[in-house]
């Protein structure tokens, strides 16, 4: 512990990181056992991979929103780039790499790389802006990515790869395969995403984010978030660090996108729209900015909740909206918070 304390990890922080890792591992073991012993309903089993993907999305967005302090409203765009590039590469690799987990891993890496490149290109203009303007431009980029992918055609045949925009002019040879079909997206995906792979991706993204945050880069992110002018005065290169956080976050989102997509037989670009970006932002805000365990719990709970509310089918989204508003009011308004603490019979005495 002395070593750890020397490396900047305050005891509370070290404990929080340890709890986060262990919570994920324990949850994984429980659900893996329940799933293999048939305790989980098939709809719940089908949600395990999306939950993992959303957890990674939430953790990665938290790096930008919570740690770096910039509001991003287009995170689903990176997810969709990762999904499309990942799935396309998996289809291309289908015959050469027959081992499904390896292919999935490679596809996630491809997705991460493509999303990182997109994050870098988008970051160049976006990170020059501040506050709400930055937020609206990320929204704009999310919509642009969706529009472009909705009109993108990509196929492969004996002559190699073919691209086209707006209309399908790839003119594939016989035996070729049109992989991305504009608004129809990609269909006929082999569902190779598995819960263990999802778990591994969650652990990797936690490791990346935690270790980055507790390093000189993370200190720079948070210093810039807390006071931009002071950060400049001590020689921190604002653009460089904002870009680092943004690209890392995009890369993780890309990997999550690839994982997510390969849980379904068909994906379309409209799946990754503004509402998805908002959903992920809600995970981050409800879980607490900068709190990775919170993000993970919020992602899991809010993905399961609408399913669990299916009994009230008509009212479930309404209920979801009300929960969202009440939570925000309850956590951010002093009087309402007090009201809720009084209601809570288990509140600790010293808090009262």
């Amino acid at each position: 512990m002395t070593m750890k304390r020397l490396i900047n990890l305050k005891r509370t922080e070290a404990r929080r990181i340890f709890i986060t890792y262990s919570a994920v591992v324990i949850a994984y073991v429980i659900f893996q056992v329940m799933s293999s012993s048939g305790f989980l309903s098939s709809s719940m089993r089908g949600m395990l991979v999306p939950i993992c993907a959303y957890m990674v999305m939430a953790v990665s967005l938290n790096l930008v929103v919570g740690i770096s302090g910039e509001l991003s409203l287009g995170h689903a765009g990176f997810m969709s780039i990762g999904a499309f590039s990942g799935v396309a590469s998996a289809i291309l690799m289908q015959s050469t790499i027959t081992n499904a987990p390896v292919r999935l891993a490679l596809a996630m890496i491809v997705g991460a790389i493509f999303a990182a490149i997109a994050g870098f290109l988008i970051g160049i203009p976006v990170l020059r802006l501040k506050g709400d303007y930055l937020a609206i431009v990320t929204l704009a980029f999310g919509e642009i990515i969706k529009s472009i992918l909705n009109n993108f055609y990509f196929g492969v045949d004996a002559q190699g790869l073919h691209f086209s925009m707006l209309t399908d002019t790839t003119r594939l040879l016989k035996g070729g395969r049109l992989i991305i079909r504009g608004p129809m997206g990609i269909s006929g995906i082999m569902k190779i995403a598995t819960f263990p792979m999802g778990f591994i991706l969650v652990m990797i993204s936690l490791m990346v984010v935690f270790n980055l945050v507790n390093s000189r880069s993370g200190r720079a992110f948070m210093a810039i978030r807390d006071d931009r002018i002071a950060a400049e005065s001590i020689g921190l290169d604002i653009t460089k660090y904002k870009m680092m956080a943004f690209v890392t976050s995009a890369a993780l989102a890309g990997a999550a996108g690839a994982l997510f997509a390969m849980n379904y037989s068909t994906i379309v670009a409209n799946k990754f729209d503004f509402n998805t970006s908002i959903l992920i932002l809600v995970f981050v805000v409800l879980g607490g900015q900068g709190n990775m365990l919170g993000s993970i719990i919020a992602a899991a709970a809010l993905t399961v909740l609408p399913e669990k509310l299916r009994g009230f089918s008509d009212y479930r989204m309404l209920l979801y909206a009300i929960i969202l508003i009440v939570t925000m009011l309850g956590t951010n308004n002093a009087e309402i918070r007090e009201f809720f603490t009084k209601l809570n019979p288990f509140r600790r005495k010293e808090e009262a």
Binding site: I7, N8, N211, R216, R219, A223, R225, D226, I234, G235
Partner: protein, 278 residues
């Protein structure tokens, strides 16, 4: 965003080659000026600071003292004049580059990284000295450990100058006011400056705190052998510690000299107290 700078080169022989090292200027401002909102916030500002000199910058409120700091650190870019740092023109540099070239500062209205711990505030300022990259941070390679441990040791050492080493884990935002001001100085020192700009370090302190601060500044000055420019309203502090004093009023230098000379200068007295009605 950046104001157009009228570039006035300074002949290279402006710095005499052979001088006593202590007197060799670390900073030379020549004819510095800036227009802000249509008025000359600083005009025709000339100042030379020797390598280990402590210079006081005083003047009534709104005289342009902080603006001078903002010009030196490139928060504003001067409309006229030249700033030479160690004989090198800082024209066109950014705040970040100026800091790397050796100017560090504190702020009048404290600007700490409130959610970071005291130690992290200091270590953030050492960022540019750390060499390990992102990958070794993520994979926790030996380079990361080595540098982080060294940085932590150094941060504690710097904090101990102000007796703050036992506060290392406290969030900076929850420190008492005086400690926040001291932490800003430590953070500035952590960037290895050759010129330290202190903007009202004693503001809001009581006399005993000010006396402690005086000792600390002396200590810093002796330990690091750096030049310091000090904006301060507390005359006892300024007169006690400064080698030279520069008085600003309405953006103009109205007097320059040793503390004794300044205290008896009629122009300074007039600026502070007003003209006596005859």
């Amino acid at each position: 965003m950046r104001t157009k700078t009228k570039y006035i080169p300074v002949p290279s022989n402006a710095i005499l080659p052979e001088r006593d090292a202590a007197r060799e200027p670390v900073l030379e401002c020549v004819n510095l000026g800036i227009m802000l909102g249509g008025i000359k916030a600083v005009d025709n500002f000339n100042l030379t600071v020797g390598r280990t000199e402590i210079v006081g910058l005083i003047g009534p409120n709104g005289a342009g003292k902080t603006t001078v700091f903002n010009l030196l650190t490139k928060v504003y870019h001067p409309t006229t004049g030249t700033i030479l740092l160690n004989g090198k023109d800082t024209h066109g540099m950014t705040t970040v580059q100026v800091n790397r070239a050796g100017i560090a500062r504190t702020f009048q209205n404290i600007r700490l990284f409130k959610n970071l711990s005291v130690a992290d505030n200091v270590k953030a300022a050492m960022n540019n000295d750390m060499r390990y990259n992102m990958l070794s941070a993520i994979l926790r390679l030996p380079g990361y450990r080595r540098e982080e441990i060294a940085a932590h040791r150094r941060a504690l050492k710097l904090l101990s100058i102000f007796d703050m080493q036992n506060m290392a884990d406290v969030p900076a935002g929850s420190l008492p006011y005086g400690a926040q001001r001291r932490l800003e100085i430590v953070r500035a020192l952590a960037t290895n400056p050759c010129l330290l700009l202190l903007d009202e370090p004693a503001a809001g302190m009581n006399p005993s705190e000010t006396a402690e601060l005086l000792d600390s500044i002396r200590k810093v000055h002796e330990m690091f052998q750096i030049a310091i420019i000090l904006i301060e309203h507390d005359m006892s502090l300024v007169m006690n510690i400064c080698d030279g004093i520069c008085v600003l009023n309405f953006g103009q230098v109205i007097a320059k000299g040793t503390p004794d000379e300044i205290q008896s200068n009629p122009a300074v007295i007039e600026a502070y107290l007003g003209r006596r009605k005859e």
